[in-house]
Symmetry: C2
Subunit: 388 residues, 2 copies
Amino acid sequence: MLGGVPSSTKSANKEPFLADVAVVGAGPIGLAVAWRCAARGLRVTVHDSAPGSGASAVAAGMLSPVAEAYFGERQLTELLVASAARWPAFAAELTEAAGAEIGYRTEGTLLVGLTGDDLAEASRLLAYQQGLGLPVTPLRPTELRDREPALAPRVRGGAFSPTDHQVDPRRLVPALHTAARRAGAVFVPQAVRRLSEVDAGITVVAAGCGAAALTGLPVRPVKGQILRLRAPGGVAPGFRHVIRGYADGESVYLVPRADGEVVLGATVEERADTTVTAGAVLRLLRAGVDLLPELAEYDLVETIAGLRPGTPDNAPILGPLPGRPDVLVATGHHRHGIVLAPVTADLIADLVISGVPDPLLAPFRPDRFTGVPDGGGPDRTTEGDRWS
Amino acid sequence: MLGGVPSSTKSANKEPFLADVAVVGAGPIGLAVAWRCAARGLRVTVHDSAPGSGASAVAAGMLSPVAEAYFGERQLTELLVASAARWPAFAAELTEAAGAEIGYRTEGTLLVGLTGDDLAEASRLLAYQQGLGLPVTPLRPTELRDREPALAPRVRGGAFSPTDHQVDPRRLVPALHTAARRAGAVFVPQAVRRLSEVDAGITVVAAGCGAAALTGLPVRPVKGQILRLRAPGGVAPGFRHVIRGYADGESVYLVPRADGEVVLGATVEERADTTVTAGAVLRLLRAGVDLLPELAEYDLVETIAGLRPGTPDNAPILGPLPGRPDVLVATGHHRHGIVLAPVTADLIADLVISGVPDPLLAPFRPDRFTGVPDGGGPDRTTEGDRWS
């Protein structure tokens, strides 16, 4: 069943208590990899002293390949689209496997520009997204407000992206934990400080920002501050779509949950602390209330900051660690860890089992940073898309 | 030693375990009354299931008779001035008695108007305050910034009030608790639901909003939302004065503490819940950052709401409960509980001991609301200033 990468894992199968796959990190990526591997019959251990305590505990859970498609990130967008396409089946399987709802919702995303300048910025991005053939439909202000009457009367325009969905990361991660455990994964509640501490045929490093110390790869923390609001009276928020808004130059998103929660985020800061600052909260609230005035009446129930695992080219790092074919890396998902969980889990599990990398993984291999001081990046290399 | 109000307390002195004075409520008012009474030799019990958990846990601690002097509240202003004048000695005695610092600071308060409209509003109030003979000096923008270089360059003007000081309520209340205990007060960690549950010669009701249910007096909760920020790096804030600011129509205050904390408040809302709302946090942060731009870099460490004990005329209720000469009321301090603690404690203790009310108390007697549907108020009655 195990393929050629690395061949040593074949013998590993015969040792009692020796895992086929050791997953370092129990965030959504590590847990999804563990679930997929265990469900396919591999013996899996998952190593983390505090499962789900990293970036996912802060994340909003937008599944937005379209609204997040950005200039110069074509190959990342392709991966996002591929993963988003897997989400409906992934969500259904996970809900079944874990016996728990994960807040997967398919109303889609509205892109909204508040001022003329905001609309100009959003429209430029919209044209780029349409040029890639992504499904996104421009909407006039009246059409926006027909879809979401709670939007500010002064919004100047926007668009609808029907395939940009959402999930609740705080339900997703416990569900993945349950599903992995039910599939047979064994959890080791200890932090891994060196890869030599782990004994398995293949080690998957899904340690988020912690991957830098474990692998030497250029993963750095990118701080994000985010707020959680709650509609008063225990009712659902007064809007159903995810809102991706531009408001007086501020770019924010608003994610409504059925239980009344609204996630309002997020800053992107080159900092490694997790303090919540007055200025960030002010900017998020101002943009949020300008776009959806009723938010002013909502309870502010949480202010929190997390650290995303960023890379020099903003794309994830997926594949064998250079010089260590028994170590697969699955990190650097930056702002896209939730949406990329299904494709990452499936392709890493495939790679573990078959030894053959899916072509989708080619632009994201770890060795793309070797010898390139500031990284080449998936959209900057013309060579090297063949797996070594 | 006990005077004539009520005479029954004389016999109470002879019963073992029977207190001369039972204080209901262990906020700053109740604790200060208990301390002053116990220090003068009375046997005191203090009844509260959660000392210091009311409005004082949220309060900023401004001691601002001048900056808070408001139209139509002349007699309240007189009481505020009288209490503020007692603060230096009160703070010194308390620090000595409790063996703890309480964050009493005397740099004074700057009144600041951000825009022309804000300055016009502040100037109107300033003229009123000067008309009362209060010590307050107008300052030009350059003079303001000479005193506090961190103020926004665009502030349009303001004033300096040298006698408006500050204290830290979260240090004050534990210090009062210690001082009262050291003076002999006995704490009963139970809530009082009916006055009949308390057995003492005189009962002092200092229960904040809870006084309404105990006495039938028109005390209502007035919600206040407030923020606590912290200067990054563990240093003191970049300003020393209390700032009383008007910013685009929003009235806020900023209270700097030596340990880096800045209190930014506060809303005044006719609500009885203690939820923190997005709109209130937005308004406070916007006004705060507009007045002192460096606040944007500060950590936002706490968002909290409390309930002030308000009265129909915004003035406290101090004196015997109508028909119950053995029950003295000391509540309804609204936004002024901290500054009014010394005068309240001294005059209530005097009244307990001598039976003779100080003339300062006359406008604030509980019976002023009797038969007047919405209250008469200390500045609306021309009769009845003589104690009955």
